[in-house]
C-alpha cells in the first residue's frame, strides 16, 4: 500500500466516489461520497466483492479478473439494498497489487441522489452531475409548460370543431350548418326544397370491407352530391350515412325528381376499394317548404323524414315526395330508367 496514503486526500476531492482496494480486494479506504453507500449499517463490507456485484464484464469475482478489466467500463450493482446500479472503472497502482475503483451513478443518478441524500458537495467540483440534475428539472418544467399549452390548444380545437359548420370527413356542411341555413330560410320566407338522403346497405360495406372502405364510400357519395347539385345548394352530412340537401328557390317537382334520380343512379355506381367493389344505393325523401303551413324547420325536416321512411318501407333505392300516397309506388320506381329494389350483389 506504499504510496496511496498520501494521495487519498487528493482522490477524496477529485473523485469522491472512489474506493481504494488492497491486493486481496479488501476495501482499505472509501471516498467521502462512496462512504455514504452504507449510511446506517456502520462499516462497509470488508471486501469489494461483498460490497458490489460486477455484472459486466461477466465472470469477475476476484482481484485477478477485476484487474484484467482495468480501464474498461464496469457495470456494478451494490449488494445491500437499495441495489443501486453503478458504473465504474478500476486502475491498479504501485507494485503491491492494490487498485482504485472509481464509481458513478450513470443513468440512475436521480435514484442515487435521493437514496443517499446527496448534496452538491458530494460531487467533484468538475463533475457535471449538478448541471445534469438542473437540466432534468429545467426541462421537466419547460415540458410541463408545453404540455399545458398543448392541452389548451387541444381544448380550443375541440371547441372550434364544435362550432364549425364543416364535416371533417367529407368536407360537406354539418348539422349545425343545416340548422343555421334552415332557420335563415324560414325567417326570410323564401321557398325551398329539402332532401333527406340515407345510404342503403352502407352498414354491409363497413362490416364486409372495414371502416376505411366505409369512409371511401362516404367520400364518394359526398362527391356525387356536390356534383349533382348547383353551387348555391347546400349539401350536408348530418349523421353516419345520413345527408341533407337544401335547394333554395327550387320547388319544381320534375326537376327535383330528376336530381334525385341522377343522385341514386350515380351512388349506385360501385366504388373500387383495395381491389374490391363496394356497392350501395340510397333512399331520398323530399319535402317542399310550401307544403308546410306555416313552414318551420322541424316540420320540413319531419316531412322529408316521413317521405324517406316511405322509401325504406317500399324497398329502398328510390325517392319519394312527402304527401305522395304510399301505394302509388313512390316517385322512384315510376319514371326511373334504372329501377332497383334489392341490394346490389357484393
Amino acid at each position: 500500500m506504499q504510496g496511496i496514503d498520501h494521495i487519498t486526500p487528493v482522490l477524496d476531492v477529485l473523485c469522491p466516489m472512489h474506493v481504494v482496494l488492497g491486493p486481496a480486494g479488501e476495501m482499505t479506504h472509501c471516498g467521502p461520497t462512496s462512504r455514504k453507500f452504507w449510511p446506517d449499517d456502520g462499516a462497509p463490507p470488508a471486501r469489494v466483492f461483498d460490497a458490489f456485484e460486477v455484472l459486466r464484464p461477466r465472470g469477475i469475482a476476484d482481484m485477478g479478473s477485476l484487474l484484467a478489466a482495468r480501464g474498461e467500463k464496469l457495470h456494478l450493482k451494490k449488494r445491500a439494498a437499495p441495489r443501486t446500479a453503478l458504473k465504474g472503472v478500476v486502475m491498479p497502482f504501485g507494485a503491491g497489487g492494490g487498485a482504485v475503483l472509481d464509481l458513478s451513478f450513470g443513468i440512475s443518478i436521480m435514484e442515487g441522489v435521493r437514496d443517499y441524500a446527496l448534496t452538491s458537495t458530494d460531487f467533484a467540483v468538475t463533475d457535471l452531475t449538478i448541471e445534469m440534475l438542473y437540466l432534468i428539472e429545467a426541462k421537466s418544467a419547460a415540458m410541463e409548460a408545453s404540455r399545458k399549452l398543448n392541452l389548451r390548444l387541444q381544448g380550443a380545437r375541440i371547441a372550434a370543431e364544435e362550432q364549425a359548420f364543416t364535416d371533417t370527413l367529407t368536407g360537406l356542411k354539418n348539422r349545425r350548418a343545416i340548422d343555421h341555413i334552415l332557420s335563415r330560410l324560414i325567417e326570410s320566407g323564401r321557398a325551398f326544397a329539402l332532401m333527406q338522403l340515407d345510404l342503403d346497405f352502407f352498414k354491409a360495406v363497413n362490416d364486409t370491407h372495414g371502416h376505411a372502405a366505409g369512409d371511401a364510400v362516404l367520400q364518394q357519395a359526398a362527391r356525387v352530391l356536390v356534383e349533382e347539385t348547383r353551387e348555391q345548394d347546400c349539401v350536408a352530412r348530418v349523421g353516419g350515412d345520413e345527408f341533407v340537401l337544401i335547394f333554395e328557390a327550387l320547388s319544381d317537382r320534375h326537376r327535383l325528381a330528376e336530381i334525385a334520380r341522377r343522385i341514386i343512379a350515380r351512388i349506385e355506381e360501385p366504388v373500387p376499394f383495395n381491389g374490391a367493389e363496394c356497392r350501395i344505393s340510397c333512399s331520398v325523401g323530399i319535402a317542399l317548404s310550401q307544403d308546410c303551413h306555416p313552414p318551420s324547420q322541424e316540420a320540413v325536416m319531419a316531412d322529408a323524414d316521413t317521405a324517406l321512411y316511405a322509401c325504406k318501407r317500399a324497398g329502398r333505392a328510390q325517392f319519394r315526395f312527402f304527401g305522395e300516397p304510399e301505394n302509388a309506388g313512390g316517385s322512384g320506381p315510376r319514371p326511373g330508367p334504372r329501377q332497383k329494389s334489392g341490394p346490389p350483389p357484393g
Binding site: R114, Y134, E137, A138, K139, A141, L149
Partner: protein, 195 residues
C-alpha cells in the same frame, strides 16, 4: 417579451390577489385576451401596459410591483420549480451570487428562446458586492431585488440590499452580507424535484 415573463406577471397577480384582479388588469391594460401562454412570444408593449395596469390596480409604484414579482417567483409554492432551479446555483448564498453570471446561460439551457439580462457580480471585499444587470428592459434590477432578498432568507443568510438606480440599460444593486449563516434557511434536496 417571452411568454414566461408575461405569464410570471399574470401568475403573480392571480396567486396573490385573485383571478378577478387579474381580469381587471387585462381590461385596464386593454389586453384583448385574458391569459398569457408561457411558451409564446408577445410584443414588449403589452408587458409594459400590463405592468402599468398592475401598478394602477394595486396602487403601488412600478418598482414595488417588480420587486414583489421577484419575491413571488422564489417563494410561492406554485412556482417552487423556479426556486429549486436557482438553488442549483450554489450551496451557499455567496456561491449563489457568483452563479448569477451564468444565469442567462442556464435559462437558455432550459428554454432556448428565453433571453434574460446579463448580470455581473463585483466582489468589493469585506462581504460587500455589487450586482450589475444589463438588459433592454428597465426595472429588471427591481425584480432581482425581490429574488435576492427572498433567496437570502432561503439560504438563511442575513443581507442588506440597495438598488442604486442605473443608466443606459444598466442597473446596480449593492449587496452587503451581514451574516452568511444567520438562520436555518430552507432545505434543498437535490433529488426532490423532477422524476
Amino acid at each position: 417579451m417571452h411568454g414566461l415573463i408575461n405569464r410570471a406577471i399574470q401568475c403573480y397577480v392571480r396567486d396573490n390577489y385573485g383571478r378577478e384582479r387579474w381580469i381587471e388588469v387585462t381590461h385596464l391594460a386593454d389586453l384583448g385576451f385574458s391569459d398569457f401562454e408561457a411558451m409564446l412570444h408577445y410584443d414588449d408593449a403589452l408587458t409594459e401596459a400590463v405592468l402599468a395596469a398592475v401598478s394602477r390596480s394595486l396602487g403601488v409604484p412600478r418598482e414595488t410591483v417588480l420587486e414583489d414579482i421577484g419575491t413571488y417567483l422564489v417563494s410561492h409554492p406554485n412556482v417552487e420549480a423556479l426556486r429549486r432551479l436557482l438553488r442549483f446555483g450554489g450551496v451557499s448564498f455567496v456561491a449563489f451570487l457568483h452563479s448569477l453570471d451564468e444565469l442567462p446561460d442556464r435559462a437558455r439551457l432550459a428554454v432556448d428562446d428565453l433571453r434574460l439580462p446579463r448580470m455581473e457580480l463585483c466582489d468589493h471585499g469585506d462581504n460587500r458586492y455589487a450586482l450589475i444587470c444589463r438588459g433592454d428592459h428597465a426595472g429588471f434590477g427591481h425584480v432581482m431585488m425581490g429574488v435576492l432578498r427572498t433567496l437570502a432568507d432561503d439560504y438563511g443568510a442575513l443581507v442588506f440590499l440597495e438598488h442604486k438606480g442605473g443608466a443606459g440599460g444598466s442597473e446596480t444593486i449593492e449587496i452587503t452580507l451581514v451574516e452568511a449563516a444567520f438562520a436555518e434557511g430552507r432545505r434543498f434536496e437535490l433529488g426532490a424535484g423532477a422524476g
